[in-house]
């Protein structure tokens, strides 16, 4: 392929029963972060920085429009703290142009804003929960 836009990006998030729900149509924008900690290990004998990669992390921020239809964003996030028994997070699967990134994550919020103009929007931030290094496939 060549350089691409983000059109056609999809986001699927487990609901509280562990079933993946494609809520792409509710989402206005998504940001995906897969940073790693960095340790400066520069020795006295070096003139340039030496580094090691430490703990990996994953963060997904979703911004969307309120939708309380069955299996859409409100149904998925209204009880964001509830996990399927035995699980340490919810599966968040991102897909674009045949590339996928899937992480087990916990949400730290489900925030809504009802603005003066009548719009009702939401934001959710999810963070890696299971210690697995995020990897695109």
């Amino acid at each position: 392929m060549a350089k691409e836009s983000g059109l056609g990006f999809s986001v699927t998030v487990d609901d509280s029963a562990g079933t993946g729900r494609n809520i792409s149509n509710d989402i206005k924008n998504v940001s995906v972060r897969t940073p790693s900690g960095i340790q400066d290990i520069t020795g006295l004998d070096k003139s340039a920085i030496e580094r090691l990669v430490l703990l990996a992390d994953g963060e997904v921020t979703l911004n969307g429009v309120f939708n309380d239809a069955a299996n859409m964003s409100h149904a998925v996030f209204k009880d964001y703290r509830t996990l399927l028994a035995g699980q340490v997070g919810r599966t968040v699967a991102l897909a674009h142009s045949g590339q996928t990134l899937s992480m087990e994550m916990v949400a730290e919020n489900y925030d809504l804003t009802r603005a003066d103009d009548g719009s009702l929007t939401w934001a959710v931030t999810l963070r890696l929960s299971d210690g697995t290094v995020p990897a695109w496939s």
Binding site: L55, V65, D68, D79, V88, E108, T113, R114, D116, G118
Partner: protein
């Protein structure tokens, strides 16, 4: 339903309906602290849920008419208040509710003469909880009434419930508001722990919850009983779908 705006929403606090005065609900937040617990055998972060929290904050226009926003908010009481945001006023619609503290009552008088208030409400002990309305916005009963039910589908839940009540006006001696459930939408029974304390005047407010292993059946409704000629109230119902931290 589908993607929606927030037109037609309602906002209640401490037994006052201030929907007509609220300009915007700037924060409807359910949030949790995340606790790191990374083992040395892992190459990436591990986390679990910590304490629940939340917030309902709003902007308001100034209105000092009887039982409007100034009456509702000026007192800055130290006790807990039930605060509810109704996404529309259709039975079964989403409701965000908390019981907690009104933190402030702040005003900005602009150069242009405008007067706009800012109020923040933070929960005390239970965070902000999303549920469904058991009343179509505010409900008016003129005697004992069995309200219409909402249908949660064929599977009972096994983790109990919570409910929030605000009473806006009352005429009579007393009213008892109860939450009931049913398997067939015909034979209803009181949910143990789902009865609010007797109300003898307005405004009134309360949060209740059952044991966290209680079975809640498919159909849920709210009923009123007692000796009264008029009561106006609203109820939000939270059906827990998984084990909830105490």
């Amino acid at each position: 339903m589908a993607k929606q705006s927030g037109l037609g929403d309602n906002f209640y606090i401490g037994g006052y309906d201030i929907s007509g005065d609220v300009a915007a609900v700037t924060t409807i937040s359910a949030r949790t602290a995340l606790l790191p617990l990374v083992g040395i055998d892992k190459s990436a972060h591990e986390r679990i849920n910590g304490q629940r929290d939340g917030e309902l904050s709003f902007n308001t226009w100034f209105n000092d008419a009887t039982d409007q926003e100034h009456d509702a908010l000026k007192g800055l009481v130290n006790t807990d208040r039930v605060v509810m945001y109704f996404r529309g006023t259709t039975l079964g619609n989403p409701v965000a509710a908390l019981i907690g503290k009104q933190i402030n009552y702040d005003w900005d008088r602009g150069d242009d003469g405008s007067l706009r208030g800012t109020v923040q409400c933070l929960p005390n002990a239970f965070g902000l909880e999303w549920g469904e309305s058991l009343t179509a916005g505010k409900r008016t009963d003129t005697g004992a009434t069995n309200g219409a039910s909402i249908d949660y589908g064929s599977v009972s839940s096994l983790f109990g419930m919570a409910a929030y009540l605000e009473v806006f006006s009352f005429t009579g001696t007393n009213v008892l508001v109860k939450v009931q459930d049913s398997a067939d939408d015909v034979a209803f029974a009181d949910i143990t722990g789902g009865t609010f304390a007797t109300v003898a005047g307005a405004p009134a407010q309360e949060r209740i919850e059952t044991g966290l292993t209680a079975t809640i059946r498919r159909y849920v409704r709210v009923i009123t009983g007692g000796t009264f000629t008029n009561v106006v109230f609203a109820v939000s119902f939270v059906r827990y779908l998984g084990a909830r931290d105490p």
